[in-house]
């Protein structure tokens, strides 16, 4: 039944003109960025690892933004369009309903990641970084995106409004993204360092930096970045379970 919900969401959300336009815009963004990186008179003379580093930020940033916008409406749409009652009248369990929706959001991340692969290949030509870079981008992106999706789904169950969920999610996303863009000189004080340790975007960028610049290619060497990401996911999962139980307790629809 989770697959039924997932397939329905794929049809309803991902194979629509709206989603296709999003993916096209992301592709155009990648096209422009990769072309500028490689042809700009100044930037084309950067080290290839620096090009990859810049591009990875674009990929992660675009993915987080698009998935946040999409996920904010997935559950609320059912309540706002009054289709939720019909779903809950079937043997479908509430957790199955939520899981199907989460899977659909993660699928959107995979689409964005798949679109970025040809660009990454062309930027890494001549290096042997493509395999490790794709692997780490895939793993880190998936864990980070899953955490954000769990968080936004929990928010949806609290707010029951697409507008409120989207606004709050975007605020949280910017709260994570802006400090992650700061240079290391701005992260010297203990508070900034602590926030960098728990910030999922900081951990993703930190691990990619580890792979590209310091050439530390094993999972064990990147564990200090991956572990906080997994912890972030677990905390968000607990948050989602808590909000789901509250929703079921107060009666599902109301």
């Amino acid at each position: 039944m989770i697959l039924t919900i997932w397939l329905k969401e794929i049809r309803e959300e991902l194979f629509t003109w709206k989603s296709m336009l999003w993916l096209l815009i992301v592709s155009l963004l990648y096209s422009l960025t990769s072309y500028l990186l490689l042809t700009n008179k100044e930037l084309s003379l950067l080290d290839q690892t620096e090009l990859l580093w810049l591009f990875s930020k674009i990929v992660i940033g675009a993915a987080f933004l698009v998935v946040t916008i999409n996920c904010s409406s997935l559950i609320n749409n059912e309540f706002e369009k009054e289709t939720a009652e019909s779903l809950f009248l079937t043997p479908l369990h509430f957790s199955g309903f939520i899981a199907g929706k989460i899977l659909a959001s993660i699928t959107l991340w995979f689409y964005i990641f798949l679109i970025s692969i040809p660009y990454i290949i062309v930027i890494t030509i001549g290096t042997n970084l493509i395999g490790p870079f794709l692997l780490f981008l895939g793993i880190l992106g998936t864990i980070g995106i899953t955490g954000i999706i769990l968080f936004i789904t929990g928010l949806s169950l609290i707010f029951r409004s697409t507008k409120n969920t989207l606004t709050t999610s975007l605020i949280f996303l910017f709260a994570f993204a802006v400090p992650a863009m700061f240079s290391t000189t701005l992260k010297i004080n203990p508070l900034a360092q602590f926030f960098a340790k728990i910030n999922p975007l900081d951990n993703i960028f930190g691990s990619l930096d580890n792979v590209l610049v310091d050439y530390q290619l094993s999972l064990a060497q990147n564990f200090k970045f991956i572990f906080p990401l997994i912890l972030f996911c677990l905390i968000m999962l607990i948050f989602l379970i808590f909000t789901a139980k509250c929703t079921q307790k107060r009666g599902g629809l109301k």
Binding site: L28, S31, S34, K41, Y119, I123
Partner: protein, 186 residues
């Protein structure tokens, strides 16, 4: 007319003698501020410096002690000026910011100097070598070498153009195929 063109040389002679005496007396001072006698720096690769943005070239130069005394504590470095924009260039961007230290140059000794420089931006440039000597108050400067860096024109570096143009087109086609397929199914 003859008197105007050819003045009376006998009357000008005393003035000329005074000027010559003054010139001989003070010339060492002038010479000292304009041209110290001991070190000469020469850029050897001045004819091979011009290139294309992105090139790595080697600036070969030498410093020679033409004086009678050894010279110690010499630090040499490059200085670069953008002739078009009338600005100095930050050599760190060009990977040539390092200084070369020479302990002592004996009289008559020639010491080679090399810097690897990365042409970062196209334009017209002036290059000179500056030597700071610990025991002297005036820096030594080589002659100016002018060179040109041509722009790097590459519309398709690393085959990015087919990907940059092709991916959006492929996506659009893919979406159209899906829409057509769904319409057919109905």
């Amino acid at each position: 007319m003859k008197k105007m063109i050819f003045p009376d040389i006998k009357n000008c002679l005393p003035g000329l003698v005074v000027i010559s005496i003054f010139g001989l007396l003070f010339s060492p001072l002038w010479a000292d501020s304009i041209q110290p006698s001991q070190l000469i720096m020469t850029i050897l690769s001045e004819n091979t410096l011009s290139g294309v943005a992105g090139d790595f070239v080697v600036v070969e130069a030498q410093i020679q002690n033409i004086g009678n005394e050894p010279v110690s504590g010499i630090t040499t470095y490059l200085t670069l000026c953008d002739r078009e924009n009338k600005l100095p260039v930050d050599l760190e961007d060009w990977s040539a910011e390092k200084g070369l230290f020479i302990g002592t140059i004996e009289p008559g000794q020639i010491f080679p100097l090399t810097w690897k420089i990365h042409f970062v931006k196209a334009g017209d440039y002036s290059l000179a070598i500056i030597a700071i000597i610990e025991t002297e108050s005036n820096p030594q400067v080589s002659s100016l070498t002018i060179f040109k860096v041509s722009p790097k024109i590459n519309l398709n570096p690393g085959y990015v153009l087919p990907v940059a143009l092709g991916m959006p087109v492929i996506l659009v086609l893919f979406f159209l195929v899906i829409m057509y397929y769904r319409k057919q199914n109905k």
